[in-house]
């Protein structure tokens, strides 16, 4: 949270959106039952609201994003898998915690980050929004693994990416470039 909504750039380009139900199914397939989250308008209807009423998950609502980095990192010590959800503004606010707990301490912090303000028809690096445009370069500079979810088929790599994060004990960040469709 923390940024004002920005209108997406107008375009007549038709785009497809990823399925929220499909993402949730793949989160479960990855063995994740703990969700730690701050609301994000990109993922609110398609992911967080459905997750909040799904009995397969335990949702821990947090007050600030870096809390979640610590919660998920601490959970990982006994193998508990967790997903941390937030908006990219919160990601930027949490970079020191991710640096310390995820990278320096080599812990598997898996995050799903909504790119609020990104136009659906462009890649993040071409967004008119500075706050969106810088995200991937910042993560690259920190050598943090990340992947983009915006086309419907992008969701298929979720289980494998989560598995790799836990196998390698390192962070992975899914960047959500288009609002997932509500189930």
């Amino acid at each position: 949270m923390g940024a004002s909504p920005q209108p997406a750039a107008s375009s007549s380009t038709e785009v497809a959106f990823p399925s929220g139900a499909g993402i949730i199914a793949r989160i479960k397939e990855a063995g994740i039952r703990e969700i730690v989250a701050l609301p994000d308008i990109v993922t609110s209807d398609g992911l967080l609201w459905p997750i909040s009423v799904d009995p397969d998950f335990r949702l821990t609502r947090i007050c600030k994003e870096d809390e979640g980095v610590s919660i998920c990192g601490a959970m990982s010590y006994n193998g508990t898998r967790a997903l941390l959800m937030m908006q990219q503004t919160g990601l930027m606010d949490s970079l020191n915690a991710i640096r310390a707990i995820g990278v320096d301490y080599e812990l598997p912090i898996v995050m799903m980050v909504g790119l609020q303000g990104k136009e659906p028809h462009v890649k993040p690096d071409q967004s008119a929004s500075y706050g969106v445009r810088i995200i991937r370069p910042v993560l690259d500079a920190m050598a943090i693994s990340h992947s983009l979810i915006e086309e419907p088929e992008d969701i298929d790599h979720i289980p494998q990416a989560v598995e790799a994060a836990y196998a390698g004990s390192r962070p992975h960040i899914f960047l959500i470039g288009r609002s997932p469709e509500a189930p």
């Binding site: 821990t60 007050c63 870096d66 809390e67 610590s70 959970m75 310390a100 320096d104």
Partner: protein
């Protein structure tokens, strides 16, 4: 009255069982590591202010264990929202102790903002902890400890302290892979 921090921590030692996880930060951590070295001491919190959140993650993932957090007052001020998160999380196995010395002890001993009036006990009570109390006298603290640690959490205890003996600050150890491995192995063996 005010309590020597190492005396307060020393009073806790008989009540910390083999299975308890202890999350400790800054000078309380350095004191605790000297006073009660044990494999289930969790010392790698990474970023200032995060002890309570690490404690919550451990409490959620290990409901059969008590998680005792030895927090600092400057640290907690960086993460006050965690009090609300913890109180709302549903955990009953988290015990949050605060060493309130009202200064940034390891960063030049500068005073906290509002050092002479911040009410940490009030913060935790308002956030919704199951219990919240403060102590300025060692004897009263010692007498209350078994009851606090037997009560359903989350429980908050503010200890008004001053530095005790000058225990060494071993930053290398607390950030080391060895410290994390020792904790992980102990957690998953017992």
């Amino acid at each position: 009255m005010i309590i020597d921090r190492d005396a307060a921590l020393g009073a806790m030692i008989p009540h910390v069982t083999e299975r308890d996880i202890v999350v400790a930060v800054y000078q309380s951590c350095f004191d605790w590591l000297q006073l009660n070295p044990r494999d289930l001491n969790y010392v790698a919190v990474g970023a200032m202010g995060q002890a309570s959140s690490h404690g919550l993650g451990l409490a959620l993932a290990n409901p059969e264990r008590r998680v005792i957090v030895l927090d600092g007052d400057g640290s907690l001020l960086m993460n006050l929202g965690s009090l609300v998160t913890i109180a709302n999380s549903g955990v009953s196995n988290l015990y949050h102790f605060l060493a309130a010395n009202r200064i940034y002890e390891v960063n030049g001993a500068h005073p906290l903002p509002g050092a002479d009036r911040v009410d940490f006990v009030g913060f935790a009570r308002s956030a919704g902890y199951a219990g919240s109390q403060g102590f300025r006298e060692l004897e009263l603290f010692t007498d209350a400890l078994p009851h606090i640690l037997a009560a359903p959490g989350p429980q908050f205890v503010s200890m008004e302290v001053r530095a005790g003996k000058p225990y060494p600050r071993d930053y290398h150890y607390i950030h080391s892979a060895k410290a994390r491995k020792t904790f992980r192995d102990a957690l998953n063996q017992s």
